[in-house]
């Protein structure tokens, strides 16, 4: 297709998005151009091969225990009730709770970034940190639940996604630190980087609380 000026339009024809007024010319060209005919055959074969790929692939391990633990943590915190089972749009919210979230994020990162190189060699220093973080996170959710004020559903969703991102950052940080545990220099740079990030979040938290 790269060798023919009709290459792009050929793909549009293949995808059914070519403007109708161009269809007859491109189709006629396809009949007379060996390069485009070969390209067409390759597109057909590629689509067939892609459609033949397995729709499901098993993960390397059972992910359910971790998922179940996260679900359970979402229900176990005092005052949360059944927050994790309710749709995001139904959750009450108070705008002032933004500082709750900011503070939780700061605390979580503070706990994490407080990890020093000496901690990496312990059996599993993350377990205690993880429990502390889970408590902070669920306290935060309890704060949301207790609030009786209104908030747009999309904002609640955004907050939810923000909490997910914090969780994700925590997990990836742990993975990253695991991977560089044998390389103190790299680990030191990571920790220094997270200290800087924590400083920034602390500033944000102060702004949110004003």
């Amino acid at each position: 297709m790269r060798d023919c000026r009709y290459g792009e339009e050929l793909q549009d024809l293949f995808d059914g998005v070519l403007p109708p007024e161009r269809e007859s010319e491109v189709a006629a060209h396809l009949e007379s151009c060996d390069v485009c005919a070969a390209a067409w055959d390759e597109l057909v074969a590629l689509r067939a091969a892609a459609a033949d790929l397995p729709s499901g692939l098993a993960p390397d391990r059972d992910l359910w225990p971790d998922i179940a633990a996260r679900m359970a943590a979402g229900e176990a915190a005092p005052g949360t009730g059944t927050v994790a089972t309710r749709p995001a749009a139904a959750r009450p919210w108070h705008p002032g709770r933004a500082r709750w979230l900011a503070a939780a994020a700061v605390l979580a990162l503070a706990v994490l970034s407080g990890l020093q190189l000496r901690d990496i060699g312990r059996d599993d220093p993350y377990d205690a940190l993880g429990m502390g973080y889970a408590a902070v996170r669920e306290d935060c959710r309890a704060g949301l639940e207790e609030s009786a004020s209104e908030m747009p559903a999309e904002s609640v969703t955004a907050v939810d996604e923000g909490l997910d991102l914090i969780d994700q950052a925590i997990r990836e940080t742990r993975n990253a630190l695991d991977k560089v545990a044998a390389a103190p220099e790299q680990a030191g740079r990571l920790v220094a980087g997270y200290h800087k990030k924590m400083d920034l979040l602390q500033k944000l938290a102060r702004l949110a609380s004003q």
Binding site: D12, L46, L53, L57, A58, D60, L63, A68, P87, K179
Partner: protein, 191 residues
């Protein structure tokens, strides 16, 4: 769930298999076990999508977890107008895209960390030059991120370009260009 499966394997009388709609209703009422069964039925599809979008098994595992946790949190909002799998797929794509955006922001801010790199994240797998199914998987994994995403969503998952544009937050023209690029690269590799 594994215990239940093992029970069946040992020849114990099989319990009636609840349909998906019933499991969804139970999950919406807070039933962890019902959601666990939904997980078991759909995890391979969700993981395959995550793996093809990320080309990284560890990351795909993390994002699969995130997708199911988010699904649990939002399942009360699932009204059943679409199939649960369709809803899960869309939610999973959103999780992957959110991760990608967060990664981009992080890389933009943490240039010093980026120098050191984080092995395993967005690792590019070198494709093999033959056309078997496994080689197509490898070839897809070797595509640049944008091309891989669009090709996977369009050719493997069957989304339309307009839908992909909405999910990924780019213009339809960009989706089309990425799709064409993906096909060109794949044809070169698999030829």
């Amino acid at each position: 769930m594994q215990a239940a499966q093992a029970s069946e394997d040992r020849g114990h009388p099989a319990q009636p298999v609840p349909d998906t709609a019933r499991l969804v209703r139970r999950a919406q009422a807070g039933d962890h076990d019902a959601f666990g069964e939904l997980y078991r039925r759909h995890v391979d599809r969700v993981f395959a999508l995550c793996l093809r979008l990320t080309a990284d098994r560890d990351l795909a595992s993390l994002l699969t977890q995130d997708a199911f946790v988010r699904a649990w949190r939002n399942i009360a909002g699932f009204r059943g107008e679409s199939r649960l799998l369709t809803w899960l797929h869309r939610l999973t794509v959103n999780v992957v895209m959110d991760h990608r955006r967060a990664e981009k922001r992080r890389r933009d801010r943490e240039t010093t960390l980026a120098e050191g790199g984080e092995p395993g994240i967005h690792a590019v797998v070198q494709p093999a030059p033959v056309g078997a199914r496994r080689d197509l998987e490898r070839a897809i994994a070797g595509l640049p991120t944008g091309a891989r995403t669009v090709f996977t969503l369009h050719e493997v998952e069957g989304y339309r370009m307009r839908e992909i544009a909405e999910m990924t937050g780019v213009a339809v023209g960009t989706v089309k260009a990425q799709l064409h690029r993906a096909r060109r690269l794949l044809r070169e590799v698999l030829r």
